[in-house]
Symmetry: C2
């Protein structure tokens, strides 16, 4: 049986309050997929990193993980840094199947939600 | 008559390709509110900054602008840096009415779209 894990992978920040929306998102996702293990991981400034998150998930029996980069755009962090993080996670847990999605900000549906947010109350009926 | 402007305010990055989703978002928003002036502005690495964007909008007749921070969380950038950017924009265009929204990632609807994205194809029918 495949145990599914989801890693919500974000940049990280020095201010702990920065992570509040990600914690809300983790709860949202976990509530909708109760059989899955859902965790956060961070590129820098916050822990766990992706390798530590992968190890923790594997210790809970996860065999397949989806890594979701919560970034708007694909700049240096995703193009240059992220592949190394994925490689280190894979090296840390060789048997783990790791799938990686596109960046959240590249999703048409996410962009549509951002457009709704930007326009709230401004569009004429 | 109030001429509405919208500034989609993002972090900025050294890699120009990072801004692609923001350019898509700008087109989406502009298409839905054709009477408004919609522009991007950046905290760092990219131009224009918020003050330059405000000046450019005012030069096009904009009298009221909504600034939409395209950030997931409220860390140092939004808590410490952003107010100064808004103040400089206001100083650059004293007559401009500047409204600021919450961070995009604090919106329930945006978080719901991110959850949909994270879960795509994993939820059982």
């Amino acid at each position: 049986m495949t145990e599914q894990g989801i890693v919500l992978f974000a940049h990280g920040a020095r201010d702990a309050r920065w992570a509040e929306p990600f914690a809300r998102l983790q709860r949202l996702v976990a509530a909708r997929l109760p059989d899955a293990q859902v965790t956060l991981a961070f590129l820098e400034h916050m822990t766990p990193d992706l390798a530590a998150a992968a190890q923790a998930l594997a210790a809970k029996g996860v065999t397949r993980v989806r890594v979701v980069p919560l970034f708007f755009g694909r700049g240096g962090h995703l193009r240059e840094d992220f592949p190394g993080h994925v490689a280190r996670a894979q090296a840390a847990v060789p048997g783990l199947v790791i799938d990686v999605t596109e960046a959240a900000g590249e999703s048409d549906a996410v962009l549509a939600a951002l457009a709704d947010f930007a326009l709230a109350g401004l569009e004429r009926a």
